[in-house]
Amino acid sequence: MRLALLTDIHGNAEALGACLEHIAAVGVDGYVILGDIVGYGPDPGPVIDKVMELQSRGAVVLLGNHDEAIADGVAGMSELAAEAIHWTREQLSAEHKAFLAGLPLTHQVGNALFVHSSARDPGDWNYVIHRLHAVDCFDATDARRIFCGHTHRPILFHQLAGRPVEEFVPKPNAKVPFSRARRYLAVIGSVGQPRDHNPNACWALLEPDGLTLNRIAYDIDSTARKIAATRLPRWLGLRLYEGR
């Protein structure tokens, strides 16, 4: 079973399109979309349409905090994020909003758990950045392989029973093999707004024996131009060029 994992698309249709094209070329058996479909980006409606279409073909789609904020409000969000949510809300149809509101927080198959943020209280949107966050996340579930997003910064935590949690930043396009003896927590990089100083869109190929973080160049100019043509803060376009 080969799965494509996509997270933090954030209304970036160009980045999503480039990833889906690459995924089609690579070939997968299914998709998991780990939330934050909207927010920040200029194409929330078209992106939701695409995600709904993927769902109709079997994709698993999870809720992210930006998706939740469309209905529940922006409490706890940064000013920039909140401003984008207000704009995004105006762009969405009732059908779009209902779709977002109906998304689940987690999905588990076998020993794999998919969630937007930490497995520790998923609805609290805890970031997984440091080893201590990883320890909390591991403690909150029995799953041996956990996949999340939310931080826009890829990192892989791994742990052998009785040993400290270790961390590793996966190299782009290089498959990281799984060892059966370990638990893994993979934070997947963002499709639509990478923040690890690599501007290329990120999607992950999950195979039974390993994980590959693919980085895909896309037409940032178009996305930034669209952002500049809306009332969204311009910085949201500029940051895409630098991956921050």
């Binding site: 590793f168 190299k171 093999p177």
Partner: protein
């Protein structure tokens, strides 16, 4: 480890039938085996896990399986299969025929020429596995098999892959490796340097030359740490019996700071191939000034040059930043404009990569195989005059002695001589000239086009612009076309 299987000859594991047990150690056992799908001789390595403890054996197994699966080529046993940790863990691989290097260290000291030969074999093996992004980190005489196909490295249980998570982890309490051969940085817990393997090679060559590893067989932590504060010059006296070039190579490999060792095994092999050209330094020159002065000089040696160069962040970048460059210069018409143009391009390549080294090569053509060595008008071997011309050609590049070497090749066929040189040395990049085309060259093929077609490295061919140089060079004693 769900069900205990009795390990004994005849036991079948995933199609592998165990034969004789050839090794039993603290970490596990090694068995000869057969498999209906494989004609290669096989061994199966089965780790031993005492339940609940010995986590290092588990990690070594995880690492060896992960790394062996990814390695290929003549310098590692071929990987044939492995079993799950949860069931019966094992790694099946090709049985490599040959002698462990420990048979030679047991017989040490061995003649210097033999030490050099082993060093060349080890350097070739490192060039190969480092290019596959793996650093071994546990090189010792018991983990090297000298086989017909060269040195084969075994036991990757402590290895590190430049692109994969280090399963050993950063939290390891104790340094891991084999004390006599472990590099200073490994003692400090750093497992990311390919120079650590170069250190281990230095330690093994030292042992082959002197009968004992540079710091003996330390069994205390302070004994282990002695190498952190011992500059290689202090190890020089024990090497007084070996040729100075070899002593220099060994001591350079044993530098405390990895940045002072060879940047890649390619550079190590290059020096071992040309010991007569190795620049001797205070490391090996026991007679240059008093002992204390030497130590003082070493300790106070300014290291701005290397501080100024940021460390490459991956093995791939390392190879790109420390290339061995071969300049092939035709000096049969003196330092002509084409030779100068080659130098212009060599200078550019060197300027881009401060850790590059340069091999200046020229071919002295002999007309018929077996003819007496050519001599010049003064009756000296023509070889000498050509060497002088080659050094003169390189002079304005202002390269420090340890970064440049000079090679006058003699042969009837320039392209063949250049290729033979390039194939016996770790060359990353050849810079050479091409004379503008003429009908004869088009017909017979030029030296540069043959080198481009046959070389395994990058080749830069430089050509003088359209005007002039459209004809064959003027007739002279060596104006026979290259292709003759």
């Amino acid at each position: 480890m769900s069900e205990r299987k009795i390990l004994a000859p005849g036991l079948m594991i995933d199609g592998f039938t165990l034969g004789e047990r050839i090794f039993a150690g603290g970490m596990g056992s090694v068995w000869r085996a057969t498999h209906p799908d494989h004609t290669l001789p096989i061994i199966v390595k089965i780790p031993f896990f005492a339940p609940g403890e010995n986590v290092s054996a588990i990690i070594a197994f995880e690492i060896e399986e992960m790394i062996m699966k990814r390695l290929s080529g003549p310098h590692v046993p071929k990987f044939l299969g492995s079993g799950e940790l949860a069931d019966l863990p094992y790694i099946a691989m090709e049985f490599v025929e040959g002698d462990l290097l420990s048979t030679l260290t047991d017989a040490a000291p061995i003649p210097a020429a033999e030490v050099v030969r082993v060093g060349q074999l080890l350097a070739r093996a490192l060039i190969d596995i480092h290019r596959q992004q793996v650093v071994h980190l546990d090189l010792k005489p018991g983990n090297v098999i000298l086989s017909k196909r060269g040195a084969v490295l075994i036991d990757f249980g402590l290895a590190h892959h430049d692109k994969l998570p280090d399963l050993m982890g950063e939290e390891t309490a104790l340094p891991v490796g084999s004390a006599p051969y472990m590099s200073p940085e490994q003692i400090l817990g750093d497992r990311t340097h390919l120079e650590s393997d170069i250190y281990a090679v230095g330690a093994m060559l030292y042992e082959l030359a002197t009968a004992k590893p540079p710091f003996g067989i330390p069994n205390t932590r302070s004994g282990l740490k002695q190498r952190l504060k011992t500059p290689p010059a202090m190890l020089a006296p024990a090497l007084s019996g070996v040729p100075p070039g070899l002593a220099e190579v060994i001591l350079k490999s044993l530098s405390v700071d990895p940045a002072d060792r060879y940047p890649t095994a390619d550079h190590l092999l290059f020096d071992l191939n040309h010991l007569d050209q190795v620049a001797l330094t205070d490391r090996s020159q026991r007679n240059s000034g008093g002992f204390l002065a030497r130590i003082g000089a070493l300790l106070s040696r300014p290291s701005e040059a290397r501080r100024a160069t940021p460390r490459p962040t991956s093995f791939e970048q390392r190879f790109a930043s420390a290339p061995v460059i071969m300049a092939a210069v035709d000096l049969s018409h003196g330092a002509d404009p084409l030779a100068e143009l080659v130098r212009v391009h060599v200078r550019r390549v060197l300027a881009a990569e401060p850790r590059a080294r340069l091999a200046c090569v020229t071919v002295l053509k002999t007309k018929i195989i077996g003819e007496d060595k050519p001599i010049d008008e003064a009756g000296r071997p023509a070889y000498i005059g050509r060497l002088v011309a080659l050094k003169d050609w390189a002079r304005s590049l202002h390269l420090p002695e340890e970064k440049v070497s000079y090679h006058v090749l003699e042969g009837v066929d320039a392209a063949a001589s250049l290729m033979e040189y390039a194939n016996h040395n770790p060359i990353d990049h050849i810079v050479m000239g091409a004379r503008a085309s003429s009908s004869l060259r088009r017909h017979l093929g030029s030296v540069s086009s043959r080198v481009v077609a046959e070389a395994r490295s990058t080749v830069t061919v430089v050509r003088l612009g359209g005007v002039g140089e459209t004809d064959e060079p003027p007739p002279g004693p060596e104006s026979v076309p290259d292709e003759s």
